[in-house]
Amino acid sequence: MNHHKQPLSPHLGVYKPQLTSVLSILHRLTGLTLVFILFGLSLWLYSLSMDSALFMNIMSHLQTAYGKVLTGGMFFVFFYHLYNGLRHLMWDFGKGFLMTTVYRTGYFVLTITSLSTILILMCLWLI
């Protein structure tokens, strides 16, 4: 390995955050978070099937204020990764690489993520 560490030129401290880079890293971060959300889903299903006390415990936690914030966050993360994933699939077919298109589809993804989250939370809590 290289023992004489070469200096790095400045990066995160100086590079202006842009929609492209921010959405890209957000896709990775939401992906990682979703792994833990998936484990949570398995735990929830386990409690539903074999441990009703744990199920009641989880559901009561989810109905508190912080629980609702958490639920909203989980849905936002899920929908963002889903819609941005569709954007990735669009790129895999070679479509949408024009810079204006990249920005438009990026803002579109953020919009429909927010709308989907709001819609689902309304269905969960208001109906």
Binding site: L32, L38, S42, L45, M59, F78, L82, F93
Partner: protein, 128 residues
């Protein structure tokens, strides 16, 4: 579309090394599509049960369509998650021993998670 399909077929029939990157790439896309389909299906079904109580959920999972939707989602989502974790580990961990440990732990965690989820669904069906 036919061009895409012919290249897809060529990819799977040419002999390649076991951990080939292009297969990983394709599997990631295929598992993504599977996850999307089963996710929307599960969400659509779960929103017919809006007050989420123990009983309403058990009633819902009585129906095979609900179980298949959730089971399919668990399978595809955990597979997609495993491929994604693999990619992230490859990007950030270069030390050979650490990399092996992380890879093995991540794979084990995904297997256990998927197994717990699918087994729970099985228990729910068998109990009802």
């Amino acid at each position: 579309m036919t061009h895409f399909l012919s290249r897809f077929f060529a990819l799977w029939t040419t002999p390649q090394k076991k951990e080939s990157g292009s297969k990983h790439w394709v599997l990631q896309r295929v598992s993504a599509v599977g996850t999307i389909v089963f996710a929307f299906w599960s969400l659509a079904l779960l929103f017919q049960i809006t007050p989420f109580t123990y009983d309403s959920l058990h009633l819902a999972f009585d129906k095979p369509s609900h179980v298949i939707a959730m089971g399919g989602f668990l399978f595809f989502a955990y597979y997609h998650a495993w491929l994604g974790i693999e990619m992230v580990i490859e990007d950030y961990i270069h030390h050979p021993l650490l990399k092996t440990i992380f890879m093995a732990t991540a794979r084990l965690a995904c297997f256990i998670g998927a197994f717990v989820g699918l087994y729970s669904l099985l228990i729910i069906i068998l109990r009802n």
